[in-house]
Symmetry: C2
Amino acid sequence: MLHEEVVGRIRDILLDGEIPPGARIPERELCDRLQISRTPLREALKVLAAEGLVQLLPHRGSRAAKLTDKDVRDLFEVCQGLEALAGELACERITDAGIAEVAAAHAAMVQHYREGDLIQYYRGNRAIHEAIVTAAGNPVLAGLYASVTARIRRARYVTPMTPQRWAFAVSEHEAILNALQRRDGAGLAHILRAHLRHKREEVLQAGFAETEASELALRIA
Amino acid sequence: MLHEEVVGRIRDILLDGEIPPGARIPERELCDRLQISRTPLREALKVLAAEGLVQLLPHRGSRAAKLTDKDVRDLFEVCQGLEALAGELACERITDAGIAEVAAAHAAMVQHYREGDLIQYYRGNRAIHEAIVTAAGNPVLAGLYASVTARIRRARYVTPMTPQRWAFAVSEHEAILNALQRRDGAGLAHILRAHLRHKREEVLQAGFAETEASELALRIA
DNA sequence: TTCACCATTTTTGAATTCAAAATTTGGAAT
DNA sequence: ATTCCAAATTTTGAATTCAAAAATGGTGAA
């Protein structure tokens, strides 16, 4: 199995919350499961530790990284900055076809909103943000964004999504699409920053659950 | 030797340009030199590959990553965004003592400018930018910034530093310190962006040397 | 002389092995 | 019965080993 493959597999295991934050990473078990020896596994763990997903304790094994409140705040802060930058660049560089794609993704997301399908809505939401980052045409930026959002998602926070909040988030997304269509870089950056700030507020206000992450526990009050 | 230690040592070797970009990384040789076996060395190389400093070619060894023109552009773009964000945050969070420190560093840098000591000037310059990032109080941001600047520095570009440019750069730094002292976040972000944009222009206009990096080849026209 | 093909050597990627550190277990003393 | 200490076991970190892939070199034919 290729090195990159192993890193990806373990990253997915961590992001799926199969190994909850703070939990010990069972080396032997993962070796058996992935049918590899400890050498490539440990290489992967070092890489993931550099990414911030794994915490290495000398002579005491490795654990899935645990996010503090401060970590989440910091990550959101950086994410905001990266998305704002991506928005500005995207406005300069996105093609008309690219805008059409984002518009389509937006429409699909709104449809999920209308149907009240929160899971699909979140998926569509993420797709739009990623499309904007991709449209920025900067692989370095895209890489950092991926790493930061991965760590954030790892937090598996639980925000009580009220109808008001949801409607507001959708309206923000309307504004995002609008700014992109007008290629208003500064405006898009501004909206994205506000959008992320609101999301962060929700998360920090609600606290976030670092427990068994298999249950998504998304509820609408 | 500790894992982190090995990663640091090799990172330094790469940043010092001891192994020039594009050159093969001699595994055996480094093992002898660092007095370690291939296992920890290869672990370090994977980590550095994830950081973008090393390029792994399957079944064909690893090379010091080579930066294209586009890479440099992308890195500068991201660096701009990160510094702008750091500036805004620093204005909110920096203490008076912190401002005093930056002011002192600035004064030292100006002194080096007056003496015409370009090397020391660059060192002071870097110290100021790093101090601002530190003052932002966001370790995630600081980490990304470190990684991006490391990769940029690796390019070892050669810019013909004219007296005009140098004077202008110093004036920009005056403005940076000023905005920080006024805690004008938006203003500081704006200046930092412009400052980095100018630097990038210089670099891309001049092209950059990917050769034997031991010679610094900084010259004043 | 040059090109192509095959054997040899080297290098890479990964499994195994080994020593040191940490954890657990069992027993003895209070 | 509980606590403390020491022996045994497990786990970790790193060296060594091993198989496969790539590079090298040498020979023979055109």
